[in-house]
């Protein structure tokens, strides 16, 4: 099995952690309280506590432990004819996007990503929207470099 060479920037774990913790605080936590009260109307209080805490624990694991695992399994490589992306902790995906099929490439940056100094590279093919073509946690320089390389290599594929 051929493993793609390049790893994301190590700071991406920090970015994932922070962004997920923020989401946990502002969305998941209030939602777990709502969940508790919904359960309360159906059955006993401890069922509500159980369900709400399970939900919170899952989110907490996703925010605290998962990023480093995800980082470990996220690999990519730009080869002569394709872009290889391998990712996923439990559900593994190993995908190859041919460069001559790429319709356009863009890099984007959320506000938090800007603070950390990371960029997400997104590739689009005619296959429609798929998560395979997105590579998060790249240094700005590397991302623009990759984009330039892809644009240069990309064939002109008439759809």
């Amino acid at each position: 099995m051929y493993q793609p060479q390049e790893l994301l920037d190590a700071r991406v774990t920090f970015y994932w952690r922070i962004s997920r913790l923020i989401r946990l605080a502002f969305f998941s936590f209030p939602f777990s309280i709502v969940l508790f009260f919904i359960c309360l109307t159906f059955s006993k209080w401890w069922v509500g506590v159980l369900i709400a805490s399970l939900y919170l624990i899952q989110k907490l694991v996703h925010a605290v432990i998962w990023p480093s695992l995800e980082y470990k399994h996220y690999r990519f490589e730009l080869r002569e004819h394709d872009m290889l992306v391998q990712h996923g902790v439990l559900f593994r995906k190993w995908s190859s996007i041919p460069l001559h099929r790429i319709q356009h490439v863009d890099t984007h940056q959320g506000p938090l990503e800007r603070v950390v100094g990371l960029v997400t590279l997104q590739l689009y093919t005619a296959a429609g929207h798929s998560s395979d073509g997105s590579i998060p946690g790249l240094l700005e320089k590397r991302a623009t470099n990759l984009r330039e390389q892809i644009i240069q290599k990309r064939g002109d594929d008439g759809v």
Binding site: S95, A126, D132
Partner: protein, 590 residues
């Protein structure tokens, strides 16, 4: 075992490098023979040159290709409608010479829709407006109890109605189209101007539609689909001659030759066949789900009635009710089949497939063979036992039209099993394999466990639903006995799975109750990946998923090593050398 090697890899970088290097050299070794055959002068960059050259600056090409993936935003329309090349070209051509045969942009007049489009478009436009504001309508519907709001309600409804009239009017007044050489130009809009340019080479299929209103004015609707939104090239009311003219001009092959070759009739469906098609379409699941919903609605609205009903239920009555439900759904789908596909016939003219169908609204669809990316055979158990199947011929034209995803344009409702291969060859001659003759590779033995587990889960949900519906009766527990039934079905399902990757096609087959066989053209693959769930990793299984424009085809579960070998094989297609070969034959990709 597999996870072990992965964990150890990051800690020992030199070993990775070693393997990579070896693979790379192997790759080169694979490439070189192809290079020799094709000759060094056919370089991939040369192939690319002509198309990029007609866009003025380096940034534009990337934007021009956006439309397939991001057709939703209005800006994207404006982006790809930036049109310096065409406006420049005629200006430089005009002063030099004016050949009478070829048209320049200046002397081709714009044409308009038929005035009757005002009548024809009003209804669909009203529907579209109402659908766009359904939230508002729901709000109106539920708040009209309070007094004093009737005038406001009326005003809103009037405003909506007026908006649709206004839109229809503007659409008719502003729509202009013309055909210059290989490009159909469609301009529409007053405030939001849309300027669309449809390249003949990019047309996926052409559809002529005639509803009763069209028929009354002897007009048709012409819909030109490209890989992207279906609304791209819609001319809603044209005279029949004009539509025929456009249609013939938009077919690259027909324009070159003066005398069109006679049509070759391929399939005709009789009413009886279509009735059978409709009847064999419905599955058990639909009826169960519908009855579940109905019973829940009844018990919500009238809890007492529902209890009385439930206590009065006997096995006989339940069986009777189910029979009625089945009969109803059968009748409905049979009627639907007749309505949509009455008088279905498919023929081959030159290099495009033409189908005609419809009882009230007549549709005539034309699909160029070279745009066919995928052929799917659907053989539900009932249809299969009487020797029939349904064939879907798919191009890259997909998108949302009238709020519905429309993807499969070419559908042959009823096709005799022994003619599958003939039709496949007619639909996609570039695929020179007969999936009903060759022996497909079987899935991994351990994939059977996964199949059974999935089947049990699916069946349990269905049975659970049924039990929930009949929970007030005494014998709902007996339904649990149905669950083990899924095991033989899962086994048969697994047994019938198959896959094969050949030089120019990929074949996948799965399902017993509803057997489907996909045959896809390798040149049309957009990307491919290998997927592994934790369960599959435990058994060292994986499956390949292949993406063509708009559709994902999942091959059966095979061992991880086989999957990677298969993907390696598919990735040979990424090499421009392989690509060039096919381009010389077909002329167009996708």
């Amino acid at each position: 075992m597999a996870s072990n090697s992965e964990d150890s890899n990051p800690e020992s970088p030199p070993s990775i490098k070693g393997t990579i290097h070896k693979e790379a050299t192997e790759d080169e070794a694979q490439v070189s023979p192809a290079e020799e055959i094709l000759g060094p002068e056919d370089e991939p960059t040369e192939q690319i040159e002509p198309e990029t050259s007609d866009t003025p600056d380096a940034d534009l090409p990337t934007q021009e290709f956006i439309w397939a993936s991001v057709e939703k935003s209005p800006e994207s329309n404006e982006i790809h409608s930036v049109e310096p090349p065409e406006s420049e070209a005629p200006a430089s051509e005009q002063p030099t010479s004016e050949p009478p045969a070829s048209e320049t942009a200046a002397n081709v007049p714009f044409k308009r829709l038929h005035p009757a489009s005002l009548f024809i478009n009003l209804l669909p436009q009203t529907f579209r407006t109402l659908r766009g504001s359904w939230l508002l309508l729901v709000f109106l519907f539920f708040t009209n109890n309070s007094s004093g709001t009737e005038i406001v309600d009326l005003m809103i409804i009037f405003a909506l109605f007026f908006a649709s009239i206004y839109r229809t009017f503007i659409h008719y007044m502003t729509l202009r189209y013309r055909l210059i050489d290989d490009v159909l130009e469609v301009n529409v809009g007053l405030l939001y101007k849309q300027n669309r340019r449809l390249d003949v080479a990019r047309i996926q299929n052409i559809e002529l539609k005639q509803n009763p209103l069209h028929k009354f004015f002897s007009l048709t609707e012409l819909r030109i689909e490209t890989a992207g939104s279906a609304e791209e090239g819609l001319l809603s009311a044209l005279s029949i001659e004009e539509a025929e003219f456009l249609r013939s001009r938009l077919r690259p092959s027909l324009r070159k030759e003066e005398t069109p070759t006679p049509e070759l009739s391929l399939v005709k469906n009789s009413i009886v066949e279509l009735l059978i098609y409709g009847i064999t379409k419905r599955t058990v699941g639909v009826v169960v789900v519908l009855t579940a919903i109905a019973s829940e609605v009844i018990s919500l609205m009238h809890p007492k009635d529902a209890q009385e009903l439930a206590s009065a239920l006997s096995p006989k009555i339940i069986a009777g009710l189910f029979l009625i439900a089945f009969a109803g759904s059968w009748l409905w789908s049979a009627l639907n089949a007749i309505l949509n596909h009455n008088g279905y016939q498919l023929s081959l003219q030159e290099d495009s497939l033409q189908s005609e169908e419809g009882l009230v609204t007549k549709r005539r669809i034309e699909i160029p063979q070279r745009k066919v990316q995928l052929v799917m055979m659907v053989e539900p158990l009932l249809r299969r036992t009487i020797g029939y199947g349904t064939m879907f011929i798919e191009t890259a034209a997909f998108g949302v039209a009238d709020g519905r995803i429309r993807k499969t344009e070419g559908l042959i409702p009823m096709l005799e099993s022994h003619r599958f291969s003939t039709l496949l060859r007619a639909a996609a001659p570039q695929i020179d394999i007969d999936p009903w003759k060759v022996k497909l590779l079987s899935p991994h033995r351990k994939a059977l466990y996964r199949s059974i587990a999935q089947g049990l889960l699916r069946f349990s949900i269905l049975v659970g639903l049924l039990m929930f519906v009949l929970r007030t009766t005494d014998y709902h527990l007996y339904l649990l006995l149905l669950i083990p039934l899924s095991i033989p079905i899962s086994y048969l399902d697994w047994k019938w799975q198959g896959w094969l990757i050949t030089d120019n096609s990929i074949i996948a087959r799965r399902g017993y109750l509803n057997r489907r066989t996909w045959i896809l053209d390798r040149d049309k693959i957009q990307n491919a990946y290998i997927f592994q769930s934790p369960f599959m990793r435990y058994h060292n299984l994986a499956h390949i998923v292949v993406h063509v424009a708009g559709t994902e085809i999942v091959l059966p579960d095979i061992s991880k090593e086989d999957a990677f070998r298969g993907l390696e094989d598919i990735m040979r297609q990424w090499n421009p050398q392989t690509l060039e070969k096919t381009e010389q034959i077909g002329g167009y990709l996708i």
